[in-house]
């Protein structure tokens, strides 16, 4: 093996919105190995959830990720409702789907912008984010928040969509559709983007199966999976839509899948709003008295893939175990297939292509002593380290 340089991506890097560390072992410009380190931002969400009531957990899991802040409550609602087996009102089902799809639109537009930014194509970045803005405004009108919507609750939703909001939403969607069409055209027909993205970070269908990758990452490699169709929840089996797939497996195919999914989402929302008009207003929540002992499993298709929640109840008012698996957890390891062998510039866009969400994926890191194999840095040791550092800084300040 020749001489290798380590090119660090992270822990703080313009490519990453969150602290995360990728070590690229490079031979010249070629990436020959890659190591992923995590544990910079662990928040212990699962443990926090065990100390909250079933109702409160919604607002905790919503804050796991700022971008797909409806998919976690969605999966959690599916899990909790499966324990007593409640059937939520039809109107709530449609409203849940509308919120879920609106989120997909804004998340995909956000990704297109970020991908443009990573390629140095800042015009696409600014344009995509400008077109995303009305969607966020729409969220504010419907739910009261641009992000972290606090819309879901056990047995239904917390706010209704009235006809006035529905009309406004349709108008906004029309605008978003026109702009997204323009953006799609600009991306799919740009020869320079073709040259830059085609054949980069290729994941074959076999790679997807090996790593268990989900969502648009899998669909771009021709693996036809989508929780919304395979195990329908909310109103997805009541409307007409299709799963978008592509065969390339490269970054371009992933961009294509995401861009085309925007139009599917728009179509789903339109159908949902149409049916909402025929349903009586106000019937948005089924009464759930308490959650019996048992286990509940729920999943939902987040913009990045399948979110999985497991909830165990002992009949009290809070979960005794809550396990979460976000899509990025299976998508991020595919970097070893997509980046190794490519160049550094390809690694940058190939990592961005799966739309990784690091805060969803964050796991606790444990340090081991390399010689003795003993655990290092437990809580007491970390506190002592921090105190020592403070002492050191104090001394330096006093010296001045």
């Amino acid at each position: 093996m020749g001489k290798r340089t380590i090119v660090p991506i992270g822990p703080y890097h313009p490519l990453l919105e969150e602290p995360e560390f990728f070590k690229l072992y490079c031979d010249g410009e070629t990436v020959v190995d890659m190591v992923w380190e995590t544990g910079y931002n662990h928040r212990g969400i699962e443990k926090i959830c065990e100390s909250k009531t079933f109702e409160q957990v919604f607002y905790v899991v919503e804050r796991i990720c700022g971008i797909c802040s409806t998919s976690h409550p969605f999966a959690y609602a599916n899990a909790v409702e499966s324990i007593p087996g409640v059937e939520i009102p039809l109107r709530a089902k449609y409203i849940r789907s509308v919120i879920g799809e609106l989120e997909r639109i804004h998340s995909h537009l956000l990704w297109v912008g970020l991908a443009g930014h990573f390629l140095g194509y800042n015009t696409v970045f600014m344009w995509a984010w400008k077109y995303r803005e009305p969607v966020l405004d729409m969220f504010e009108i419907i739910t009261g928040n641009r992000n972290s919507y606090a819309m879901f609750t056990i047995g239904g939703v917390r706010r209704d969509i009235n006809s006035e909001q529905a009309d406004l939403l349709l108008k906004v969607l029309k605008d978003v559709e026109v702009k997204s069409k323009m953006l799609t055209g600009a991306v799919i027909d740009d020869p320079v983007l073709h040259a830059r993205l085609k054949g980069v970070g290729v994941l074959t269908a076999q790679d997807i199966h090996d790593f268990g990758a989900v969502g648009p990452t899998a669909r771009a490699s021709g693996v036809d999976i989508d929780v919304r169709r395979d195990d329908p929840y909310a109103a997805y089996d009541l409307v007409d839509w299709k799963v978008i797939t592509a065969s390339g497996g490269d970054v371009f195919a992933k961009a294509e899948v995401r861009l085309l999914e925007i139009f599917e989402s728009i179509s789903i929302i339109r159908q949902c709003l149409q049916i909402l008009q025929t349903l009586p207003e106000g019937d948005i929540k089924a009464k759930v008295k308490d959650i019996p002992a048992g286990i509940g499993i729920g999943h939902a298709e987040a913009p990045r893939g399948e979110v999985f929640h497991f909830v165990k109840s002992d009949g009290s008012n809070s979960p005794v175990r809550h396990k979460i698996r976000a899509p990025s957890y299976t998508c991020i390891p595919t970097f070893r297939r997509s980046c190794i062998g490519g160049t550094i510039s390809d690694a940058a866009i190939a990592t961005a292509a799966v739309d990784p969400c690091y805060c969803c994926t964050e796991r606790m890191a444990q340090a081991y002593d390399i010689n003795t194999g003993e655990k290092r840095y437990n809580a007491a040791e970390l506190i002592r380290l921090s105190q020592m550092k403070t002492e050191e800084i104090k001394k330096q300040l006093l010296k001045r």
């Binding site: 340089t5 320079v192 830059r196 390809d346």
Partner: protein, 309 residues
């Protein structure tokens, strides 16, 4: 002697080209902002940036060669100012220059790029090293088509390597951009300049999303301010060179001054539009683009020039 020092330090060298270049950089940024639905910076923003950076702490990397690291921006500034003198004096019609100044310009224009590389390698940062190797490859790619275009200009101007005479020839016989070989040469040289200035799609040496500003990663404070100043100067003199070679110079007498300003702004506008409508390409693709396509264009331009087209 006093005159030469005045030329070098004040007009048209360091100070003048830096100030005008700063204005052009504002123009570029404002235009970019308007293309991207943003407000854009105020007119004095380049000055604010420069002054703010001067006041900041200059960090010197621990694992590098401090002397080389600190000297390289000085040499960059020196080279850029020298190039400004050699290009702007004949371009503005102040001084006739000397026979062969075109060859000097070719050399002097490379000094900033080379000092970027030296400074980056002296900083001892792996990302800067990646950036430096990319910049090196980039110089190797764009330099040949750049020279070939100059050859076609020399042929068209009747075998002269004096910038002032090239301008004179164009004043008498019409600007070179009006001819077929001129247009092809113009396209080629605009691409070369895009790479020389390190703008998208050829900004892989800095590549913000990939290698966090690459060659500039360790520069801070005064060092970064000096590099910024060099970039301002380059943003004036390279479009000025294009105007001199293809659009019969930048006359400053009477109403012509308006024309000259429009010419420079036009070229900068073109550069800005290219940088806002393209993603960054890979270094391999950039090399292929220059070595195959741009060299081909330049050779076509030479052949057409020989036939007097």
């Amino acid at each position: 002697m006093a005159k030469e020092i005045f030329y070098f330090l004040i007009f048209p060298g360091l100070l003048f080209s830096g100030v005008i270049g700063g204005f052009l950089s504002w123009f570029d940024r404002k235009l970019t902002a308007r293309v991207q639905f943003r407000q854009g910076p105020p007119l004095l923003q380049p000055l604010y940036d420069f002054v703010k950076l001067l006041a900041k702490e200059t960090m010197i990397p621990k694992y590098g060669s401090p002397t080389t690291f600190l000297l390289s921006p000085v040499f960059a500034l020196f080279g850029a100012s020298l190039a400004a003198v050699f290009i702007l004096l004949p371009a503005l019609g102040i001084d006739g220059g000397f026979n062969g100044d075109l060859l000097v310009i070719i050399y002097v224009l490379n000094i900033p790029s080379v000092t970027y590389i030296i400074g980056a390698l002296a900083s001892g940062n792996p990302l800067a090293a990646v950036g430096a190797s990319r910049e090196m490859k980039l110089i190797l790619s764009y330099e040949l088509p750049f020279l070939l275009v100059l050859v076609s200009i020399i042929i068209k101007a009747g075998m002269t390597i004096n910038l002032a005479e090239i301008v004179e020839y164009q004043v008498l016989h019409g600007a070179f951009i009006g001819s077929l070989s001129g247009i092809i040469g113009f396209i080629t040289i605009i691409m070369c300049i895009q790479a020389k200035l390190g703008l998208v799609p050829f900004d892989m040496a800095e590549g913000e999303g990939e290698i966090c500003d690459g060659i500039m990663i360790e520069s801070s404070g005064t060092i970064l301010a000096m590099y910024k100043f060099v970039k301002y100067i380059m943003l004036l003199i390279l479009p000025a060179l294009v105007c001199t070679l293809f659009m019969s110079g930048l006359s400053v007498s009477g109403i012509n001054i308006l024309w000259s300003v429009l010419k420079i702004l036009g070229v900068v506008l073109l550069l800005t539009l290219i940088r806002n409508t393209n993603p960054r390409v890979r270094i391999k693709q950039a090399m292929r683009f220059f070595w195959i396509w741009m060299n081909l264009f330049a050779i076509i331009s030479i052949v057409l020039a020989v036939f007097g087209l």
